[in-house]
């Protein structure tokens, strides 16, 4: 793919085990080039979230562990860093499941994202305004307790919070989940915007394959804890199997959900 020097993130053949017995990732390797947007695709339970957590070093809190392989962020072994170090170095994760701080207000939530920053109040205030510009809805609800906001508002809040740390690289876990269609578009526009203007790299676990591949430069398809296919986004989009199973275009016309007659025999590359 790209040469070593320009990789922000490289995951080499990792294995992840939960609870000492549940083997979830079985040798996953992937790379994110500097300034790239990489999509991570796969069915439920394929291990996307687990991969992202392994990168951001949040696994041990869930009784999981990387038992094999290595993960390098910016050339540094991730294992030796705490999650806090990672954020300081510019790698932040947006967790799946809208984990806003329930008792804090929306604005306080967003501000916690700036915890690691040392560049002064005004810079932070500026970024806060930027987040509000991205998500006007949040500005309306800034004083509300996050725990009582709607699902979509929480999701925006969590994404906005991550942006506040001015990261080099963002691990986005299902950002589009539960968001209204035009907000989804906006999110991906933000992704592109940050990517082009500020050179932020993205590793994107996403179910909305269409969207993801439209914006990504590379894609990986995970299944059962293994990478079964990877390549340029364009190449993946063109692949017949991907088309049928992930993009929902058989031939060239989209099928109606109403016409799905029988449960499909899923095609599996492996397993």
């Amino acid at each position: 793919m790209t040469t070593e020097a320009t990789l922000v993130l490289s995951v080499n053949n990792i294995e992840v085990v939960y609870d000492h017995v549940i083997l979830v990732l079985k040798g996953v390797s992937l790379e994110v080039p500097q300034g790239g947007i990489v999509a991570l695709l796969g069915a439920n339970g394929a291990g996307k979230t687990t991969t992202l957590k392994a990168v951001s070093n949040l696994l041990h809190a869930e009784r999981g562990a990387v038992t094999k392989g290595s993960i390098l962020f910016d050339g540094v072994e991730v294992k030796s860093l705490s999650p806090n170090d990672l954020v300081r170095r510019g790698c932040i994760q947006v967790m799946e499941g809208r984990r806003a701080f329930a008792h804090l207000t929306v604005e306080e939530n967003i501000l916690t994202g700036a915890f690691t920053r040392r560049d002064g109040k005004s810079a932070i205030a500026q970024d806060l305004e930027r987040v509000y510009a991205y998500f006007p809805r949040l500005k309306e609800r800034r004083g509300s307790t996050a725990g009582y906001t709607s699902g979509g508002e929480q999701q925006m809040c969590v994404i906005g919070r991550a942006l506040m740390s001015r990261p080099k690289m963002i691990l986005l876990d299902e950002p589009s989940m539960g968001l209204a269609p035009q907000v989804v578009e906006e999110i991906f526009e933000i992704v592109r915007d940050l990517n082009i203007k500020e050179g932020v790299s993205f590793l994107l676990a996403e179910q909305n394959t269409n969207m993801a591949l439209r914006y990504a430069s590379h894609g990986y398809i995970l299944e059962n804890g293994r990478v079964v296919m990877d390549g340029e986004a364009r190449a993946l989009t063109a692949n017949e199997d991907v088309k049928e199973f992930y993009l929902g275009v058989a031939g060239d016309k989209r099928k109606s959900y109403r016409d799905v007659k029988h449960y499909k025999r899923r095609k599996r590359w492996l397993a």
């Binding site: 796969g42 508002e153 925006m156 959900y257």
Partner: protein, 261 residues
């Protein structure tokens, strides 16, 4: 197949308003659900969709307005009444019982159908055992139906998001509801899984004649599956009609869809 009867109204919500402090989540919303139909509720984030479902099954008490369910009109529902009356639902943020296995979660859905008293349960013998086996049989049917045989005994906390949503649907189905409220059942699923889920929803609707109210942000799904769509924005109902009507409504396009789908 399914024959939604235009006059047979299962649930009627009339001028319901709901506010939290200064936030007006619902402002005088009226709408109805006919027996046997798939009714979609859409709208931008924070429009009040979830709040609407919460009002219907009694988790929120509206400031004013009336709810008529199966011909009985009330100012508010009690959660327990709603469940007994046959309203089941799934939740936007999965609300499964994390420490229990998938099987137990679905079995818990059958609580209202249990007839044996504590005494027999204590002995787990005779009628209690027979009943338990009977419930188990019904639940296994649902498990088969949802294709989650493999994860029966896995604690749901460990399941990936998508499967959790499916188990949650199973739990709601186990209640054998008349009205099933689904809050974003397909969030976080890929295309293939959405197709499966669509299939389940239609089958439930067809086979059991269950009426379904559906919140979803995937327009393709909404437009394909639903009979009628209500659109909320900032707590106000801004459109109501067949998918085609709604799709073409300029107000809806401005407030929500952005582009024509």
């Amino acid at each position: 197949m399914r024959a939604p009867d235009a006059d047979d109204i299962l649930l009627q919500v009339e001028r319901v308003a709901l506010s939290f402090g200064g936030v007006k989540a619902l402002r005088d919303v009226s709408f109805n659900i006919r027996k046997g139909e798939i009714r979609a509720i859409i709208g931008p984030n924070g429009a009040g969709k979830t709040s609407m479902l919460n009002v219907i099954n009694g988790f929120y008490r509206p400031n004013h307005g009336a709810i008529t369910f199966k011909g009985r009109t009330r100012a508010k529902m009690q959660p327990f009444e709603a469940a007994r009356g046959g309203i089941a639902r799934t939740f936007q943020n999965v609300a499964l019982f994390k420490g229990m296995s998938a099987l137990d979660n679905i079995m818990a859905g059958r609580t209202l159908k249990v007839r044996c008293g504590v005494f027999w349960q204590l002995l787990r013998f005779g009628p209690a055992l027979a009943e338990e086996v009977e419930h188990r049989r019904k639940v296994e049917e649902i498990i088969d139906f949802l294709e989650i045989e493999a994860i029966r005994k896995v604690p749901v906390g460990r399941l990936p998001y998508g499967l959790q949503k499916r188990v949650e649907l199973g739990r709601a189905l186990a209640m054998e509801p008349d009205l099933l409220l689904l809050d974003e059942p397909m969030a976080g699923m890929n295309l293939e899984e959405k197709e499966d889920m669509s299939r389940f929803i239609m089958d439930v609707n067809n086979h059991f004649g269950t009426t379904i109210a559906l919140i979803e942000h995937d327009m393709a799904v909404v437009m394909d599956l639903s009979d009628r769509v209500a659109v909320l924005d900032h707590g106000v109902k801004i459109a109501d009609g067949t998918p085609d009507e709604v799709k073409r409504s300029q107000t809806v396009i401005d407030a929500y869809l952005g582009i024509v789908h």
